[in-house]
Symmetry: C2
Subunit: 336 residues, 2 copies
């Protein structure tokens, strides 16, 4: 396992360039490694060991780093109080990725074959369930108010996923539908992690609410950046483009373009989305430029980030708060 962990530590600078942030991510990765050694190492079932590898093979660690920072910014001074929550949020996130990859029929994840591709459907379902159990067991150690919040956000995540399915290929999906999906599957888990971090730090309600707002807003920005990257790609970072378009997912740039275009252009866009293939990128890009949809979404991202940063006004200044603001600002430039 060691070589994998070394690989993780080699990769982290790719995302967090600030050494202080990088140090926080290191603390999290150390805790994750320790947990894996303690909990997952006696289990040599092949899907378990692959679930373990996926857990250790990197990822941005956005959720747990934000949870650690939110805890500190809210006055928490003992990492050990919040680490289980950070671990739970990352592990539950990984479990959902394993299950998502099954029904999205994704072949690779973080440069490795997805579990269902390498080990079959049953093993991937079970390995995801197993990680859910580990994650929920960690979350279950906290007071009921935390358990309730984590449970609610995980349930909303499932509802968000279902809602997304209902809207696949549906060209009348509205921005409201879109935000209902995103708040369930992406922003909600960010928000509950940040709010719970505040509760664990013993902060007052105003601060807890501010952290929740921060989580919601940065989560929405995060998803919109993902939407953009799906359309623009970042080939130099190994980030493929067009996955959402192929899957018929109604991302906000597409919803915006469908709303603004009309007549033959709208028909052409529908035709591209209904019969998408890689040779239609040029056509799609021309239409998205015509409706100015990418610029529109970039502006929305800025708005969400500004709201996230503003929400922190109620918190006293601190190194942790500055780092949260930095993460928020940087998130619009994310390339992976």
């Amino acid at each position: 396992m060691r070589p994998l962990v070394v690989m993780v530590k080699g990769m982290e600078t790719a995302y967090f360039t600030n050494p202080n942030l990088s140090a926080i991510k290191n603390r999290f990765d150390d805790a994750l490694e320790e947990l894996v050694l303690e909990k997952l190492s006696d289990d040599e079932a092949p899907a378990m060991s692959l679930a373990r590898d996926i857990l250790l093979s990197g990822g941005k660690r956005f959720r747990p780093v934000l949870a650690l920072l939110a805890h500190e910014a809210a006055g928490g001074n003992d990492d050990s109080m919040i680490m289980d929550l950070a671990l739970a949020s990352e592990i539950i996130h990984t479990a959902t990725l394993i299950h998502d990859d099954i029904y999205d029929q994704s072949k690779t994840r973080r440069g490795m074959p997805t579990l269902h591709t390498s080990h079959g459907l049953s093993h991937a379902i079970i390995a995801g369930d197993y990680l859910f159990v580990i994650g929920f067991s960690l979350g279950g150690r906290y007071d009921n108010i935390i358990v309730e919040k984590l449970g609610k956000s995980a349930a909303n995540l499932a509802s968000g996923e279902l809602l997304q399915f209902e809207h696949v290929g549906n060209f009348s999906t509205t921005p409201e539908d879109y935000y209902a999906i995103v708040d369930g599957k992406t922003a909600g888990p960010f928000a509950s992690a940040c709010a719970c971090a505040g509760i664990i730090a013993g902060a007052n309600n105003q601060i807890i609410n501010s952290l929740e707002t921060f989580g919601i807003e940065i989560g929405r920005a995060f998803q919109l950046v993902d939407d953009l990257l799906d359309l623009t790609g970042a080939p130099s970072m190994g980030k493929p483009r067009g996955t959402d378009v192929h899957d018929g997912k109604m991302t906000l740039p597409l919803i915006h373009a469908l709303t603004l275009l009309y007549g033959p252009e709208r028909e052409q866009l529908e035709d591209i989305l209904n019969n998408f293939s890689d040779d239609r990128w040029q056509e799609l890009t021309v239409l998205l430029n015509k409706s100015n949809s990418l610029e529109y979404v970039k502006q929305l991202i800025k708005n969400h980030i500004n709201r996230a940063i503003d929400s922190l006004n109620t918190l006293p200044d601190s190194k942790a708060k500055s780092m949260m603001m930095e993460i928020a600002k940087e998130s619009q430039n994310r390339k992976l």
Copy 2:
């Protein structure tokens, strides 16, 4: 939703003939109905409503009834202390059934189409995940010792499922392999529900251990009865036979027969299992009679039931204890 609940209450007498047991099952079904109305009713996503229907459409309620009884037998006198655990155990069990049905490719469950059959893979995976969340949130309300135990048994359940897959179609599966699988996927959850019930009742360690043994032993008996029913069927109860044989699952009667038969008979048995079809029942039955495997398993069931009953010796006599003994004795005659 009401008509469904009425259906549940109509069905329950099919399993528990003792009116006291039936009353306990009613108490559980009422609590489940209340939870569903409170938690799952605002969610009209189709897979959720089907998950809700599956939850309410019956089932033996073996696990929650035993948890309620174990709590009372261990000195607990307030149902509300144990009900969340009973609900958690049934809901997590239902979640695993939904996921099991996917990879076992089962078409029906409790007389209804399975979720993946009616709503597709994605919805079935997500609905199962959703129920996991609801179940774990309920379990997460308890002290850490309970959360740990529930988490461990759910993790072992996943390991047991994986182990079972590794042994599909493997004719050298040993009884030890078999019990490792069963203790993970069936007996473990029974044992943790009973032991946790004792902890919640504030019982001493001796009683908690006795309840854990009771759970393990009755869980093993339960699985062996399932194994028998798969070979003998109970057509009058709508219980189909041969599902395990078709799936290549190494149940104990088959392991026993493979061990005892030799030469051409062993070859014939391997051939039947490798190329099973309904017109080979007669052949299979002759071989199982020759090796006396069904009788052997019936004797094992008796042994496990006796051990379960003996384990209750450390508990003071009570109505609840008598009902646990009755459930244990009756379980060998189960036809569904």
